[in-house]
């Protein structure tokens, strides 16, 4: 009997914060709003810390039920929270990073008029995110799932007076809705087959039936994947994430890098029991993942908006996580999720700091030479860049390597996944170092003048900026951020550097603690087809042990070296192109013009979607249905009926010639008819009833 952890407090506290700030925040002083928001995000973090300490003593999974929410006939779904290793990891990331970013925001958003609104939304996001990871059934998970979508919608559209921001928010919500459609259908299928949405019940039913392979499970899994691609910005639904950069930078850091977008990965890992039964679904996940990773990376190469580069890199990194899950290396995927949360959050926050320093400038082409002007930002940023580029021994290197290794040893097609993943790693390091060089090295390419053409940055939204502790940005151009912002940077930097050692592979003499810790939550590391068939035969799918690392240490080492090499190659190219020979890129661009413009325009995917989906739908809606059916057929039909009746009316009125003799004639005629009818009894021949 495990103690009551009051898990419900975790989400409720931020929600309280949301209510307070949301309902009365507008009237309150910033200081109060700040306290409320920070406290509301700190308490969960502390509670999680408390949980960590008790964690060993718990019987897992630890479930706390707060009663039913929806019930119909035999079906019940309640407010049930669950805690296991996976949840705990997510909790740590969400609350930890979440709190850091809250702190950072205090500095970053201080001049916004919608300050209270911002923090209310941030707390709301925490509420939903925590619900998502704590949920014990699909339905409650869906609550968080849609909820974070809502929060992200609100925060992307934070500068709602900017058309682009409003559009981006709408786009994000709708694209996510498409994913949620998949999630819903998956839930309907689950109810239809299992009569329940509770994880425990569904999974136990599956494990009890080893003969269930593929079939409807594949269907469920694929619909879940659709949901995941929506939330985690994978092909084909990734399009919303780059636009989401319209939101304030801390939002991009928290929601669109560290936490929300990883929900898809978490969901796949959480429901791995289903995926394990469907090799097809797994392959799909892996393919989507690796494809997205490569595709997004290529786009990232040519982006010039610093936040968009990071956005595409996020998409690409999420691809890695999908790849990990796709090869059933869920722990690897989650591990990358964690490390990515560190360095990507850091990258965004640092970028934010840069933007802040340049008072709103986001275009890297006009940056440069900031190394000396904002040292703290520079160094933290450097740590993040090295981490994501996979420079050992930083966090990124470890987690990415784990995934590549698992992909490599995965059955059929694993090698291809690995190859593409490797290539992507190279691209990653290239564009990250490109960013690094363009931002911090060389000379400042555009002086103050450039500050006019900064497209849609926060400063624009600051219609009536009140002077506060922050110096007026335009007063002195480039300035380091206050410590309230730098603090989180430093902490995250440290995490990005050492984070990797949680899962330092045995191959390099580590203990891979992280993987082993997650084991119980996401068993069945590998389950190749042969083994599956064996499993079916033996009826013990989960008895199969993960292949012993010993045999593969050599291989793993080789792969690690390769990827390190690739990482440095990417760095080298970046160095040549953007530091040694800054003129080269332009020439290359002109030489490979076609390819250049293709990539530069993100493969015109948005345009293609617009032409193939949006436009036709609107056409059908407006003309085919709106005009043809509704106006012509339905309204027209009504009118026609009316006019027909009136026509008959006119006919009847024609009798009324007004002439007495006509009337008499009429009467005489019908008199005769009447007499005849009555005399011959014509009507006796048919029934009146």
């Amino acid at each position: 009997m495990s103690p009551d952890l009051h898990l419900w407090l975790l989400p409720i506290v931020p929600f309280a914060g949301f209510l307070v700030n949301g309902l009365v925040g507008r009237k309150l002083p910033k200081a109060f709003v700040t306290t409320v928001a920070l406290v509301a995000s700190l308490i969960p973090a502390i509670q999680v810390a408390g949980i960590v300490t008790k964690f060993g003593s718990l019987t897992l999974p630890h479930v706390e039920n707060l009663g039913t929410w929806i019930t119909a006939g035999a079906f019940h779904a309640g407010f049930a929270f669950q805690l296991d290793q996976l949840t705990l990891v997510m909790l740590c990331v969400v609350t930890g990073v979440g709190f850091l970013i809250h702190v950072y925001s205090v500095g970053y958003m201080v001049e916004e008029e919608g300050y209270w609104r911002f923090f209310a939304y941030m707390n709301l996001f925490l509420f939903f995110m925590l619900t998502l990871v704590l949920a014990e059934n699909f339905l409650l998970m869906f609550v968080g799932w849609e909820g974070v979508g809502l929060a992200s919608y609100l925060l992307i559209g934070f500068y709602f007076t900017r058309e682009s921001a409003a559009n981006a928010g709408k786009k994000a919500f709708i694209v996510n809705r498409i994913g949620d459609f998949g999630f819903l259908i998956a839930m309907f299928l689950l109810i239809a087959h299992f009569g329940s949405l509770s994880f425990s019940s569904v999974f136990s039913q599956i494990t009890a039936r080893p003969d269930w392979q593929g079939g409807f499970l594949t269907a469920i899994a694929l619909f879940l994947v659709l949901g995941a691609t929506g939330k985690s910005a994978q092909i084909p639904l990734y399009v919303w994430l780059p636009d989401a950069m319209e939101g304030p930078t801390p939002v991009s850091a928290l929601i669109h890098a560290a936490t929300m977008v990883t929900a898809g990965v978490y969901m796949v890992a959480r429901t791995h029991v289903i995926f394990d039964r469907s090799p097809l679904a797994l392959t799909v996940v892996a393919t989507i993942g690796v494809a997205t990773a490569f595709f997004a990376a290529t786009i990232g190469i040519l982006q010039t908006d610093i936040k968009r580069v990071l956005a595409y890199s996020t998409v690409s990194q999420l691809g890695y996580m999908f790849l990990g899950c796709g090869v059933a290396a869920y722990s690897a995927g989650i591990f990358h999720l964690v490390t990515h949360a560190f360095f990507k959050a850091l990258l965004f926050l640092a970028a934010g700091s840069v933007i802040h320093a340049l008072s709103g400038e986001q275009d890297m082409r006009v940056m440069g030479g900031l190394r000396t002007k904002i040292p703290v930002t520079f160094w933290t940023m450097t740590a993040a860049v090295f981490a994501i580029s996979g420079v050992p021994p930083l966090a990124g290197f470890v987690s990415k390597d784990e995934i590549l290794y698992q992909a490599f040893i995965a059955p059929n097609g694993g090698k291809i996944f690995w190859a593409v993943g490797l290539l992507t790693a190279g691209l990653t390091s290239f564009y990250m170092f490109r960013l690094w060089y363009m931002t911090f090295f060389g000379e400042r390419r555009a002086p103050e003048a450039a500050q006019e053409d900064n497209h849609g940055a926060p400063v624009h939204a600051r219609s009536d900026t009140k002077l506060t502790l922050e110096a007026e940005p335009h007063a002195h151009p480039v300035h380091e951020s206050p410590w309230v912002m730098l603090g989180p940077l430093v902490i995250l930097a440290i995490l990005s550097v050492i984070g990797g050692f949680m899962g330092w592979p045995e191959a390099l003499g580590g203990s891979n603690w992280f993987t082993h810790f997650l084991e119980p939550a996401v068993q069945t590391a590998h389950l190749s087809y042969e083994q599956t068939s064996v499993a079916i035969a033996t009826g013990a799918a989960h008895a199969v042990p993960a292949p012993t690392p010993a045999g593969n240490h050599h291989l793993e080492l080789m792969l690690a070296l390769t990827s390190t090499l690739v990482a440095f190659l990417g760095w080298l190219f970046a160095h040549i192109l953007y530091y040694a020979k800054p003129a080269l890129p332009a020439r290359l661009a002109t030489q490979l013009h076609g390819l250049y413009s293709l990539v530069r325009n993100k493969y015109w995917v948005d345009e293609i979607y617009g032409a193939l989906i949006v436009a036709p739908v609107l056409f059908i809606a407006r003309w085919l249905l709106g005009v043809l059916i509704d106006r012509a057929v339905i309204d027209g039909g009504t009118l026609t009926a009316g006019y027909t009746a009136q026509g008959f009316g006119a006919l009847v009125a024609r009798i009324q010639s007004g002439n007495i003799r006509s009337y008499a004639g009429w009467l005489a005629l019908f008199a005769a008819v009447l007499l005849a009818v009555s005399y011959f009894g014509l009507t006796a021949h048919f029934s009146l009833r």
């Binding site: 119909a72 849609e146 007076t161 559009n167 259908i185 309907f188 249905l625």
Partner: protein, 510 residues
Amino acid sequence: MLTDHILTLITFVPTAGAIVVVLLPRKGRIVQAFTLLVTLVTFALSLHLPTHFDYANHGFQFEENVPWINSPAIRYHLGVDGLSLWLVLLTTFLGPVGALISWRAIQNRTKEFYFFFLIQQTAMIGVFVALDLFLYYGFWELSLVPMAILIALFGPNRGRQAAIKFFLYTFIPSALFLVAILYLYAKAGTFDFVQIQNRLASGSLGLTPQALSWLSLAFLVAFAVKVPVFPLHGWLVDVIQEAPTAMAMVVAGKLGLYSIFRFNLGLFPAQARAIAPLMIVLAVVGILYGALVALAQTDMKRLVAYSILGNLSFCTLGIFCFAVAGLNGAVYQTLNEGLTGSALLVLISMLFERFGTYDMSLYGGLASRVPWLATLFVVTTLALVGLPLFNGFVGEFLVLSGSFAGHPYWVGAATLGTILSATYMLSMVQRIFYRKESSLVLSRPAPDLGFREHLTLWPMAILMLAMGVLSPYWIRAIEPAMTPLSGATPAVAAPVTPTTAAARLSGGAQ
């Protein structure tokens, strides 16, 4: 004892109020205030129902059953079960809302307005509580009149046509409906719903199969028009556009859907199943059609009208899939639509009061001008697009999940509606509240919600949330009423009691 006559009170207090309204002087806001008082009293009275409702038994409760006219055998028979219970409450709840929202919107002819408004209340409540087919039909038809007159009286530009269109659209099918009722009476010799149900169930009326299917069809068509179900919605848009908000709120949905539950499922279960495939298709088409057409609108009221069409089709879908969950969901969705749809119309009318147009393209950037209005608008939007923890989600989820097993592909298609609804609602929010402030918005002084408006909206908003989180509270009454309907034959197939036999004789004694 209150419990014995509570239904009569709830039903006729508004009428009494209406009569008083006629006598009130035409000055100040006396009429408004009095109407508000009456509706509040009615609501308070109706709260007696859920508090004294016996959730254990699934029969009719608070029954009143006295002879009204002995020949033809018409009885004054009222009663509520889990189905009608909440619909009555919804109606009485919307009463004060309607009174409040009309407070400033209706400036002239106030006496006429509130008189007919209160009569409308009586008619709608009566439809839900009447258990005698004659009485029911009476209220059913009565509910048309105040609506039509108020549309004619207050329709901004094409009021007369809209009123007549609405009236004929619903009245002509009701004629056949009346034939069916009379036919039943000719056979059964009684108008009492319960007796007829028993006799039909026990097959003691000796009706031929095709007679039964014609009867059920006559019932269904009349109801389907009133809902409205997809191809029969020709009146909806005009009416929503022309009717005063307080009327537009209540014109669609609950009356028709309730009747389908009560009669098509209650009296003709087999026939309802026979026609179910068609209805399911129509429902799905309606969902997608409504959503898509709404997508193309620039006029708020038209948009809302089509969205209502779409959302009501969810109920139809749930009904005709005959799964307990689906049926529960359908009822729940009916309540949602009544609540959320009304809230949306109220909000729109508030915008209209401020800026004098329903054309979205003229709006923009209102969020910073009227934050509260914007907030509540967004809340309503979210409830409407079925965001979890709001009422809309519970309804849609129950309907879809319940119906899915039976008709996976159709329900799958219907689920697409959730995407579309989000699309058009968010577009509306964006056009009105986001972007730069439009010239119109800048040209007018736009005060944020006043006290009266807060008073109107908050109860609805809170109720949306409550219904989204605490659904079992409502379901526990609904489900017992739905379970018998989900079976192919009504559970109340009791043998013909002496009384019904006697009634049959007296009815046959011509």
